[in-house]
């Protein structure tokens, strides 16, 4: 019974000092984050099912479970199957306080489902389909069947510079740095914490 296991193991995070060293948050911010986290997960660990549930609350009209799965893998740095506070806060630090390169690396790792260093069309299709799933059925304009595939094509046209059907990190980084919209959009969540 996985729930029982979670409760039995009360996970304590690393000390405040270590987390301060590993992340770019201030002490107060870490304290606030941990209070929120502990309130929601008294056991200190989040398993994938709970994570999917939580993330789905933000997208009531669609199905956020597949994208939440990819997110979970991206945050779960040590692949332990559960998210602890460290994973959570280290990931957030990269996303909110990291350099552009770190953020793009994080996004690249998110898209690279099998973590082999390059993004293939199949992986991208999975990701994009999961994003579209979050929108749900009733959209305007209505979701076409090949919308995700088209989106993938668009993405590869932009990103795949040498046309080999795969996107490496260098290509990804270069294309994103040249695209003003993407650069701007990476900064919009600056004030989140």
């Amino acid at each position: 019974d996985p729930e029982l296991e979670l409760l039995a193991v009360r996970h304590q995070p690393e000390g405040l000092e270590e987390l301060l060293a590993r992340t770019k948050f201030t002490k107060k911010e870490l304290q606030g984050l941990y209070r929120g986290f502990k309130n929601e997960c008294p056991s200190g660990l989040v398993d994938e099912e709970t994570f999917k549930l939580i993330y789905s609350r933000f997208f009531p009209q669609g199905d956020a479970s597949s994208y939440a799965h990819f997110l979970f893998d991206a945050f779960d740095a040590d692949h332990s199957g559960t998210l602890c506070f460290q994973d959570f806060v280290v990931g957030l630090s990269v996303l909110l306080r990291g350099t552009v390169q770190q953020k793009l690396r994080w996004a690249f790792d998110l898209y690279d489902v099998n973590k082999d260093g390059c993004i293939t069309k199949e992986e991208m299709l999975e990701i994009i389909t999961s994003i579209y799933d979050m929108m749900g059925r009733s959209t305007h304009p209505p979701l076409r069947d090949n919308a995700a595939a088209q989106h993938v094509e668009l993405f590869f046209q932009k990103m795949d510079r040498n046309g080999d059907g795969m996107v490496t990190f260098e290509e990804f980084l270069q294309t994103c740095q040249e695209d003003k919209d993407i650069m701007d959009s990476l900064q919009i969540f600056e004030n989140t914490i």
Binding site: G32, N39, Y55, F58, A107, H140, D181, I182
Partner: protein, 661 residues
């Protein structure tokens, strides 16, 4: 759930960076916190007992007193704390609600005191957790019944009735004999005659004395005339009584179908049928049978006895258990009768002539009566006979306590199950209504958010405070998140209802006059992609909004009182989901809600109202709506916010309701 959303929202927003490289369109701007405060401890002094909590804990539920700026009214400058002159015990539960997201009802607390505290703090009782909800509802119902009973008995004692019609007074007299002396007299007279009738029926058959030269006669035949007179008198009384009840009954059709009236009819029918029929030999046998029905008069006593009625009801409700007992008994009887028949087949002059004949033996043996008129003679018969009687003890003795306990259990359970089912349906309906409301919330806020940006960009200052005060930061951030998703995919959200789908995606808020022109503008601007059409839509929206905002400012403050009927009128035209909310609205009787209706801060609720009227305007009867457009805004916010009387964000109140699940 609001706690959940608030705590994880930063995470979800940060994770949205994962969409950025994939997006085809530029992202909308994030909402900015005007005054970002570090989380601070605030002190709540409730009648001397100090509670401390984080500010963000309270802000989880922005539609309650503590979560909104309403608490500023209670801020004490000298001591720098919020002072509430209320019960500290109940406050403990209320504060725990903010902390844990679950509202509990303490059993030792008086239900009306608790209700008052909840109303004061702006918390809807519906979100009491499942662990305590049943208890809460039970106590509330008990209390309500008690108060109602008290009122009733007061009324009765006062004796000053509002003028009821003659018919109604008669019906009341019949149903409650204690209301007037005449009713009491009538009650006792009918009781007496029922007793007389039953006794005469019984005594009729007693043999009393011999007529010389003949055998003993029953009294009925000896004093035939006397008995006939008695019978006639009783039936007269019963007939008159039945006719009077029929006349006085509020619903005659229902009265005729009721059990008591059927008993009445069955009680007096034999007499009339006997009168009608002649002394025909053929039918006299049937006539005699009919006289049996006179015994049903004894059931008329159930009007006089509460216990009899309860017994009847419990039998009815335990019918299935009784039926099962009968069925199992029948099975046992058939089995043993068959066995006894075949066992006794051999013996001569056996009484067990057939299996049905053996039924009698089996029943008498199993119920341990043992008349002795039929006894087995063969050894096998005796063995099986003893088995039969032993098993009879078990078969009879076991179900009886089960049935008795079933009576009480099923009786109470039926009451509780129906009650719970009714509560649950109502609760789920309310929660469902709030949930569908939350999916509309994004659209409304989307328009509102767009409008905010438009206003900011064009530097319109007069309306800015009204707009931005509307949504809370968390809500605007959540909607920004959804907006980013729309941008990433190039699609946009629609409300579920197809009727709303096209129009709400294009309609802006708080536009009451000149709808058609406005709709056209919106249609054009939304058909294109948002970013590219920003400039034209800005100007068109800007022009319309400033005009309508100013118009709204002027008009609405004049009509706080007329707003209520307008809401009710409008509520007829609304869709089903919103209709439920509005139809519940007239039941609001707390003073808080009336305060909100006439709030001087009418501009804020108007903005909220504006959000809601978005969906409502789209219903096809625009010409009818426009004249009363001005008077519509104020009350819709209470109606939309599922009865929480608040002036602040109704949409987050919807999120709150979802969290209760």
């Amino acid at each position: 759930m609001a706690a959940g959303v608030a705590a994880w929202l930063p995470f979800a927003r940060a994770a949205a960076i994962g969409w950025m490289p994939v997006a085809n369109c530029p992202m909308p701007l994030a909402p900015t916190e005007k005054n970002k405060r570090q989380d601070e401890l605030i002190i709540l002094n409730v009648s001397g007992r100090r509670f401390q909590t984080w500010r963000t804990t309270l802000e989880r539920y922005p539609d309650t007193l503590l979560g909104s700026t309403e608490k500023e009214f209670f801020f004490n400058e000298d001591t720098k704390e919020y002072f509430f002159d209320r019960d500290p015990e109940v406050f403990r539960c209320i504060l725990n609600f903010y902390r844990t997201g679950k509202l509990h009802y303490p059993r030792y607390e008086c239900i009306s005191a608790y209700d008052e505290e909840l109303a004061f703090y702006g918390i809807l009782p519906e979100i009491i957790g499942d662990c305590c909800y049943e208890e809460y509802k039970d106590r509330k119902r008990e209390n309500a019944e008690r108060l109602m009973d008290d009122n009733d008995s007061e009324n009765n004692q006062e004796g000053s009735m509002p003028s009821l019609s003659f018919r109604q007074t008669m019906w009341r007299a019949f149903e409650n004999p204690h209301t007037s002396t005449l009713a009491l007299v009538f009650y006792y007279v009918t009781g007496f005659f029922i007793a007389v009738s039953v006794i005469t029926n019984v005594v009729e058959t007693v043999p009393c004395g011999t007529v010389p030269g003949n055998k003993e006669l029953p009294c009925g035949e000896r004093y035939a005339v006397a008995f006939f007179c008695l019978d006639t008198a009783c039936v007269m009384i019963f007939t008159v009584e039945y006719l009077l009840r029929l006349f006085a009954a509020p619903s005659r059709y229902r009265f005729i179908r009721s059990v008591m009236s059927i008993i009445d009819v069955v009680a007096i029918m034999p007499y009339y049928i006997g009168l009608v029929m002649t002394n025909n030999e053929d039918v006299s046998g049937a006539f005699v049978t009919l006289r049996v029905f006179r015994v049903f008069r004894i059931f008329k006593f159930s009007r006089h006895s509460q216990g009899l009625r309860i017994l009847g009801y419990t039998l009815k409700s335990c019918a299935s258990e009784l039926g099962f007992l009968l069925f199992s008994l029948t099975m046992a009887i058939i089995i043993f009768a068959t066995v006894m028949f075949y066992a006794e087949k051999g013996s001569s002059a056996s009484k067990f002539t057939s299996i049905p004949a053996s039924f009698w033996y089996t029943i008498v043996t199993m119920t341990t009566l043992g008349y002795g008129d039929m006894v087995p003679k063969t050894i096998a018969g005796k063995i099986f006979g003893s088995i039969c009687s032993l098993s009879g003890v078990l078969v009879i003795a076991l179900p009886v306590p089960v049935i008795v306990s079933n009576f009480s259990r099923i009786y109470h359970q039926n009451q509780r199950a129906d009650k719970r089912r009714a509560q649950k349906k109502a609760r789920l309906a309310r929660i469902r209504v709030a949930k569908t409301g939350s999916s509309n919330a994004y659209l409304h806020s989307k328009r509102n958010g767009l409008l905010n940006e438009a206003l900011e960009l064009t530097g319109s200052t007069e309306d800015e405070p009204h707009m931005t005060k509307g949504t809370s930061l968390i809500e605007s951030q959540h909607h920004h998140l959804l907006h980013c998703l729309e941008k990433t995919t190039g699609l946009s959200y629609l409300v579920d209802d197809p009727l709303l789908s096209v129009r709400t995606s294009t309609i802006k808020n708080h536009e009451f006059i000149d709808e058609q022109l406005f709709e056209q503008n919106c249609m054009e601007s939304s058909m294109q992609n948002y970013p590219s059409s920003r400039s034209p839509s800005l100007s068109s929206h800007h022009g319309l909004t400033t005009s309508c905002c100013s118009r709204r400012n002027k008009k609405t403050t004049h009509l706080p009182n007329s707003s209520v009927p307008a809401t009710r009128l409008r509520s007829m035209q609304e869709l089903s989901t919103i209709h439920i909310q509005c139809s519940e609205q007239p039941s609001l009787t707390t003073s808080r809600s009336s305060l909100n209706m006439k709030s001087d801060d009418g501009l804020r609720p108007n903005c909220k109202a504006a959000q809601i009227t978005t969906a409502i305007i789209s219903i096809p009867t625009p010409p009818a709506l426009t004249p009363e457009g001005e008077s519509r805004p104020p009350p819709s916010s209470p109606s939309h916010s599922t009865n929480i009387p608040t002036t602040t964000t109704t949409t987050t109140s919807n999120i709150v309701k979802v969290s209760a699940l």
